[in-house]
Symmetry: C2
């Protein structure tokens, strides 16, 4: 049988990884898919560079629409990124009856609902394993492997750049800015790292996992997003003393009246497996009511790990594309007619415990005052650590771990504490999750 024909839109890092992997493992992939898979067309604005990569094994064009218009092409792989032209092209490919594979988390987190609906109406598949956690098959696990479960929460290290930075900050005791520079020099962070370090990339991925876990539409605009730029080495050190590591987690959790969807630095108990995920690696923990806790770990970025996910999607489509469109695995795990409009809760209604660090005057009654404010807001305290002040020092540091509380309450308590004349600097507050 003639190999299934794939057209690539954009051949940067992931695109050339996909080309390489498909070629190197073509025999193995054919044995699995039941049919060869061949990239026969590539569209890239930089035609010369693209030719340099694919040689004469694929036709290279500058205009993506030539690929979409080609009736020989069965599957279009979109690796352009962003919400702009990528969205237009994906919708055009669907309209042309092509199956689509994409690694574009931003696009799906924002416009997923529109795209999946278009695909449903046209009877084509949109596959996106590469959009979350690179080569780790987490989309498949959530969408197919854990379908028996009422999923309770998902929490993941889903951005390698920030995990690399946090690992370095911890192991070397450095502050954020110093490590960021080093990460950029090593190629672990981009020249403009904003999307990574501000948590936006992780929030895109958490949004997609949230939809799949709970059967709700993707709604990136409702996600709470906080990055790692304000993190200080001191807090990583104190957290460690208290038995915690700080990770940037994407978290989505089922609550009685809504869903939490948030990205922020988080204290996690050191003995949890996910707390020990170091460097640029990714890991996702899924808590289901039947299976309990499961964890998925691997490389979340890079040419070949991401290509691994893109090609797995190509194999899935090749294996299943003749199935009648009403009997396929639904894009977002739940059947299109079965999505619910459970609201995403505002951050003030989110429940977590907290780590607080206060720079306070070293005088009698300060601790009483602060714990009094917490008690007033019904926030109970789990542990207190007071740094011993040096001889003659007039201020000291107070670390407080709280039990679970509603964020709004903590915000109110923080404002009151901050206003105390004995609190001498902005209070550091980092959320904490036991993940059990």
């Amino acid at each position: 049988m003639k190999p299934i024909q794939v057209g690539l839109l954009g051949i940067g890092t992931v695109g050339s990884g996909t080309f390489t992997v498909l070629n190197r493992n073509q025999e193995e992939i054919r044995r699995r898919a039941g049919r060869g898979i061949e990239i026969s067309m590539v569209a890239d604005l930089d035609v010369e560079r693209a030719r340099g990569i694919v040689g004469d094994r694929a036709r290279v064009v500058a205009d993506a629409r030539e690929v979409i218009a080609n009736p020989e092409i069965d599957i279009v792989v979109e690796l352009i990124g962003g919400y702009g032209i990528a969205k237009t092209l994906v919708l055009e490919a669907i309209a042309a009856g092509k199956h689509v594979v994409t690694a574009n988390k931003a696009l799906l987190a924002v416009h997923g609902t529109e795209i999946f609906e278009a695909a449903r109406l046209r009877g084509v598949m949109v596959a996106f394993e590469a959009a979350v956690a690179g080569g780790i098959p987490i989309i498949k696990a959530l969408r197919e492997g854990l379908t028996a479960n009422r999923i309770e929460w998902v929490a993941g290290i889903i951005n390698g750049t920030t995990n690399f930075i946090l690992s370095e900050m911890r192991s070397k005791g450095l502050d954020f800015a110093a490590v960021l520079k080093q990460a950029q020099a090593l190629g672990y962070a981009e020249a403009d790292p904003t999307f990574d370090i501000e948590g936006v990339d992780a929030a895109h991925k958490a949004t997609i996992m949230s939809a799949i876990a709970f059967g709700v539409p993707v709604q990136f605009d409702k996600a709470y997003v906080e990055g790692i730029t304000a993190l200080q080495a001191a807090d990583i050190r104190y957290a460690e003393q208290l038995g915690y590591r700080i990770k940037l987690l994407g978290i989505t959790k089922r609550r009685q009246h809504g869903i939490e969807l948030r990205v922020h630095p988080t204290l996690v108990p050191s003995q949890r497996l996910i707390a020990n995920v170091e460097g640029a690696m990714n890991a996702v923990v899924v808590q289901g009511d039947a299976v309990g806790s499961t964890l998925y770990y691997g490389k979340g970025a890079g040419a070949e790990p991401t290509a691994s996910a893109v090609v797995a999607d190509l194999v899935d489509i090749t294996r299943l594309h003749t199935a009648d469109p009403d009997h396929r695995v639904p894009h977002l795990a739940f059947q299109p007619g079965s999505l619910q409009d459970t609201p995403i809760l505002p951050i003030d209604e989110v429940v977590t415990s907290f780590y607080l660090r206060l720079q306070v005057a070293d005088q009698a009654g300060v601790l009483a005052k602060i714990t009094g404010i917490l008690a007033e807001h019904e926030i109970s305290i789990d542990a207190v650590l007071q740094r011993e002040s040096a001889e003659g020092e007039k201020q000291t540091e107070l670390i407080i771990l709280t039990h679970d509380t509603v964020e709004g309450r903590m915000r109110a308590a923080l404002a009151q504490m901050q206003a105390l004349p004995t609190v001498l600097a902005p209070i550091v507050r980092i959320r904490k999750e036991e993940l059990k």
Copy 2:
């Protein structure tokens, strides 16, 4: 649409877990599967007990063949276990045109080839996610999530009983026999724990993973199997001093002229995530050429974790059963016509590094003699640890870590060392894997 009808053969721990999960999460599952899934018939020899579990929500019969013969039943779930009647019933269910879901690793590791071929000819699906690592969707990851990769090796903690025992031996410094008793009292080990502690259960699971990873038939009879009964607390302690933990691993590895398939206690570097999997938990590491190392972690046994996998298979079948049988996900990841007969290598040709512990006379020249024998067999040494002998003691212990070598060579070297008059007790040898 009428719910898909499921018949359960055997309603023990996993069976009642499956019944419970399907009932508790039926609405969520229906939203995912696109159709309800209902256990409408149960066969169990203990009819009264079975009725006590299912009440009037399913018809209970003593004869499994009544379930198979019922034209209303779409899917038969085999939870009887073993190679005997379970095999006959699975083949009869296939012959009757039923899709089959089974958690029976022993059956598939030994008779999988025959069963999958029968299913192919009859155009039905046999799903078995629950057969390996309980609720962890590792079969799906290997069969679908990692299809882009040339898989290099798979190594897993795939037996919870033995991992619980090893964790207890390490944390409490106890020997095997003491911990086994305690594990039995706690329900972590069965009254007859042979299959677990001798490594047979892990070998069944490794055999299945081997077939899926490399596209070869299941061949349990070729697996090398060594359990944990001979492990001593001393070796766990020495391993720890050297930066290793001892785990019972099921390993299958691609080599140039064949495939390794083996289960044995293994030293693993302490900093590897899998070395930190404690208690009855399971974890599997898969090394692929594109994705690199990925890890899958969760509960490998128990009523609801195993039911999670059984029900996921039911959802898969419900979603995809109308697809034309030639365009489905192949049972063993590779298309039936594409299996290869790559040989499983005999243990003498397996390559690992080794941990050796020798009880030796505390006299000059002993170490030279022993290292001389290793050199003669071209086995190079990575590290040596000599316990300081106490005042007046005439013997001491020598721990040697080697680099990778062929097992046959090590066997020959061991025989020679064992014959030395200065070697005073049987040499302990445990294989070591760096897993990188």
